[in-house]
Symmetry: C2
Subunit: 207 residues, 2 copies
């Protein structure tokens, strides 16, 4: 990848990829703009042609992440087929898979400390991703009789919290951390028990 190859547009992506790699290995605040530039084979000054600064670079990674995250879960949801329950399970699995496949994006989104309201674009992408989970939850809950149906937003928040918790506590390469649980199994069983509590799954069957 020669330097002149960056002419006309591809440096932007190259810088984001460099940043994502650095976020993954050193954390969202653990690297400098100069490091990202060097890692992309370019002078620090070149970064300013594409981003306002280090934070802006990370925010763009986060925005891109939210878009991909939303897409991934939307695809998993698959318009609620074959059943809203099965589709909901697919969404929750897609959540974890995304965090594992795109740790740089995930960390930029949830561990960088920057607010989704930083820019309208970022807020929009974030809300859209949240919206996918919310819709999947809503469709699943529609089966319940109205008097036993908790607010979708609350259930959606519960599920996102458990998924996020599993990612943070059991899906990171932290050497020798906590319990030796497989994150997929942990999330699947946790959501299963929770859904039984909602009355969406029969109480007798152990997942």
């Amino acid at each position: 990848m020669s330097k002149q190859g960056y002419h006309h547009g591809n440096l932007r992506m190259a810088l984001m990829e460099a940043a994502l790699q650095l976020i993954k290995t050193k954390g969202p605040t653990g690297f400098t703009l100069s490091e990202a530039a060097k890692s992309a084979g370019v002078t620090p000054a070149a970064v300013y042609r594409h981003f306002a600064g280090r934070e802006d670079l990370i925010a763009e990674c986060a925005r891109m992440g939210y878009v991909m995250f939303g897409d991934t879960m939307e695809r998993a949801w698959n318009a609620g087929s074959p059943s809203s329950l099965a589709a909901f399970g697919a969404v929750s699995r897609a959540y974890l898979t995304f965090a594992q496949n795109h740790p740089g994006h995930y960390m930029a989104m949830f561990e960088s400390g920057l607010s989704p309201n930083r820019s309208p674009d970022l807020a929009l992408a974030s809300e859209r991703a949240q919206g996918v989970i919310l819709r999947a939850t809503d469709a699943m809950l529609a089966h319940l009789p109205a008097h036993a149906r908790p607010p979708s937003a609350m259930v959606s928040a519960h599920v996102a919290a458990m998924a996020h918790g599993v990612v943070e506590l059991h899906s990171r390469a932290r050497p020798g951390a906590h319990a030796p649980y497989d994150p997929e199994d942990l999330l699947e069983s946790g959501i299963g028990i929770y859904l039984r509590g909602l009355g969406v799954l029969p109480p007798d069957r152990l997942s």
Copy 2:
């Protein structure tokens, strides 16, 4: 607090308090050793009398945090009285309360990116805190018939994941983030539904 006041021991704590404040406002990797020193009213060089470096300072904050965290939950557990179920609920509430009352410690523990296995002391404190949750879970599950009783470690991991997720997604001051849910209510209702799924709470009652 005059400079000579630090002679003989209190600088160590003053530096940790400065670090905790900086972690709270700028994140575990968002400040420098010099900043912490200055914030404690002392020369950067003085830090080396008490800590090996910046990471060591943060690790000590984390260790102290785990000890306090364990103590807090142990107290909430209160040897399982008045009932193991009520005590379990108290532990889960104590989890969230701790994260809110001691954000610097909590972030040093869970968001600094350093492994609990960094030092034996840190690992011990971490395991002990985990142990409190595990024991509370175990006691609560003892009521269930053996054939319907999932492993305590798994349930404990589910509960910790949801608690951690609620802290990260709903208990931070991120301006205008996600849903307008009260973190306490969210965790209480989430755990409630989960416990109903376990069969520990009756299925008919909505918490």
